[in-house]
Symmetry: C2
Amino acid sequence: MTLIDGKATAATIKAEIAERVKEIVAAGNKRPHLAAILVGHDGGSETYVANKVKACEVCGFKSTLIRFEDTVSEDELLSKVRELNEDADVDGFIVQLPLPKQISEQKVIETIDYRKDVDGFHPINVGRMAIGLPCFISATPKGIIELLKRYEVPTSGKKCVVLGRSNIVGKPMAQLMMQKCYGDSTVTVCHSHSATLKQECREADIIIAAIGRPDFVTADMVKEGACVIDVGTTRVPDNTKKKGFRLNGDVKFDEVAPKCSFITPVPGGVGPMTICMLMQNTLLAGEKAIYK
Amino acid sequence: MTLIDGKATAATIKAEIAERVKEIVAAGNKRPHLAAILVGHDGGSETYVANKVKACEVCGFKSTLIRFEDTVSEDELLSKVRELNEDADVDGFIVQLPLPKQISEQKVIETIDYRKDVDGFHPINVGRMAIGLPCFISATPKGIIELLKRYEVPTSGKKCVVLGRSNIVGKPMAQLMMQKCYGDSTVTVCHSHSATLKQECREADIIIAAIGRPDFVTADMVKEGACVIDVGTTRVPDNTKKKGFRLNGDVKFDEVAPKCSFITPVPGGVGPMTICMLMQNTLLAGEKAIYK
């Protein structure tokens, strides 16, 4: 069984990005610049954004954090988005989700210039990904593809079961895994209404669990030799932890791991790759590698 | 076994559309207007476009056919597209594919105003469909969803196998079938590299074959009581036909049909629904039901 070390892989990739940034700057070009908008003071969002800013430093990017109180109006937020769209120094930017109720997340996403949409949430990027055109691919599915590639997990022609059909993980994951240039797999998407979910899992060479239910995937659902990717990060109360909770994956790791050819742990598997792929998208934006 | 009659269903829907158009016009509003650009004289394209124009008449739409010789330059075609984008009288338009080699189909598609893209090929419509937002859904997958609905084929929680991963059928079909508001099925996409294709088919409650290989789906691949939707329309030489060919589906109809709960014939199944759904999209465009 090979433990897929997302933390180490992310560190390697960030080092590769930092090298590339050095070259860019040495050639007299602009340092890539990521801006992040953070609304309110949600603990999770604060942590994510702080980690993104930190990752920018590691990669040698310029970063800008823009804060709003959670009383901000939609108009105010949208005009900041438009300002960033126009700002030639900003290569890419994100608006940390979730947003307060008075603001339409979809409207915010669609207002972002798709050429700066390093989160890959704009319908143009979603659509281009589906068709197989160059685009910003959202970070979590992109990170999983990268892990499979770097660990040389065989995917072509293999049966891949994706658990969950969310817009940010399940659906794009399925699309990437079925495409010839990425997974080239036979892809099955299961969800809460799937009658044959367990059977599908038992036949899978690769399981990608993104269903948000702690310990949902048990040993009896996994074929001997399967590769299991755990995207779950549910906060479960845990008094032994300083923060009072732990991150729990969708996979019952202890009993599933011994059956696997490859498995990702939680934390330290898919999680660290997500921010790292945001960095890679920022680099692509800075280099104008996808859109001019 | 129920034979799904696409021809009759399409006729019913077109009659429904015609009724709605009468109401629109009686209320003093503009008649919906579809324009079609046809480049060159390819036999298949000529037939498709002629059928689309005919369907417009049946529905009470205004239609405009714009012809170019196959020597037209990309610039010339793109400027006509831009002209139609600006023409307030045109509610929706299509550019019949394929296009001659000197023209980038993707560039043409992306130049069409997505609010008039009744073919649903623009990345914005593709992306919005993937996310589950209102949009123009491309005609063939939309027609299949409509047939399943009108024939009350159970789909929720069922296993649906899509054969083929093309951008215009396989991929959007999979996306619709997995979404809660459409199929709500467990969806598996198989393709030429799928090692377990036959097994997947044997377990399927619904098979949607869009692989373009005549008679590919045989009786041994179909579970008793399955619903089989045949999207294949390969032209096979046939001297008994006036045109010298017949349209052959992806399903070996004679041996598969007896095992099915529902099946679509070729021709007369999915085919007639495609143009009919283009009409429905044109109606939606005329009513500004999706985009203002």
